[in-house]
């Protein structure tokens, strides 16, 4: 009957392991409610092209990355070199310019390089709210059916790309 007295000890060990694991989790990495959902509908002006609009319907039909960025976002500079490299490799990247002034955004792209096919202006952050964005940069992978497949919060680097994004491309090819 001694086993009954072991239960609290085992329970304590289990709880300790569970909480110990929690220590190494990053609280900023939240599970996204968007994975598997269709890209929310939007129709926003295109940066640097007067009168043109970028719509979610226009983007349907091919796999692409949607990067949320802004010229005021200092972390965005850090992923820019990598995004340029991806664009050179032929990955379609569209930008969502989040709560920025078009002038500053264009100046920033001029300075740091432009990996985007097109950039939509989300001046009041409405599209970002629909996407569940809570900071810049954030990167979404959208498939040909317009469904959000992946979401990365923070700087997109080679490691994240290889671990999370490349397997998706391999699966579909």
């Amino acid at each position: 009957m001694n086993k009954w007295r072991l239960i609290p000890l085992l329970f304590f060990v289990g709880l300790s392991l569970f909480l110990w694991r929690g220590l190494s989790l990053e609280p900023q990495k939240l599970p996204s409610a968007q994975i598997g959902r269709v890209l929310p509908a939007f129709s926003i002006p295109v940066l640097g092209a007067m009168g043109k609009t970028l719509t979610s319907d226009y983007l349907r039909g091919h796999v692409f990355l949607l990067t949320v960025w802004a010229s005021w976002c200092s972390a965005c500079v850090e992923e820019q070199v990598f995004l340029l490299q991806l664009a050179r490799e032929g990955i379609a990247i569209y930008g969502l310019n989040y709560k920025d002034s078009p002038k500053a955004a264009q100046q920033w792209l001029h300075e740091w390089g432009n990996p985007f096919k097109q950039v939509g202006i989300d001046s009041n952050g409405r599209v970002a709210i629909d996407l569940g964005v809570y900071g810049a940069p954030e990167t979404f992978l959208i498939d040909a059916k317009g469904v959000i497949r992946l979401r990365h919060v923070g700087i997109l680097d080679e490691k994240t790309w290889k671990n999370d994004f490349v397997p998706y491309f391999k699966l579909t090819n």
Binding site: W4, P8, L30, S32, A33, G125, D130
Partner: protein, 142 residues
């Protein structure tokens, strides 16, 4: 020296008054015609978490996103949407994390019912141990 002290005191009093006043000015930024809607708005902001500064609610946070979401909630409340509809709108975009109180789901079952479960387990162990001690003081098997 005395002048300096008085000045210093005035600054502290001023700062204290500023602290007292700030909640009042915050609510006048979001005017409501119906007190019921105002109460709903205040209640919702306390229930919703700021996603940038994660331990603050939307009412307290000064983050840019929190301000946008406050405006969003304000608009929805003015439209006459219910608490349920507004919370649904936000969790659809940001997930359950935006709620301070997690909803009862299969994933959160352990969180909600765990304490009761562990209490029962503890009582059971306690009861078995006591009975054991009473019957057999040497602790041998029965």
């Amino acid at each position: 020296m005395i002048l300096y002290r008085i000045l210093n005191l005035q600054i502290s009093v001023g700062f204290f008054l500023f602290l007292l006043c700030s909640p009042i000015t915050a609510s006048s930024l979001y005017p409501f015609s119906q007190p019921k809607q105002e109460a709903q708005f205040k209640y919702l902001l306390k229930e919703l978490r700021c996603l940038v500064c994660q331990n603050q609610d939307l009412a307290d946070s000064n983050a840019d996103l929190a301000r946008d979401l406050r405006d969003e909630v304000y608009g929805l409340v003015k439209d006459g949407q219910s608490d349920h509809e507004i919370i649904d709108y936000l969790t659809k975009r940001y997930g359950d994390f935006i709620l301070f109180k997690p909803p009862v789901k299969s994933v959160t079952a352990l969180l909600w019912f765990g304490p009761a479960l562990f209490l029962i387990l503890g009582l059971l162990v306690f009861w078995r141990s006591i009975r054991q001690g009473h019957h057999d003081p040497n602790g041998g098997g029965s």
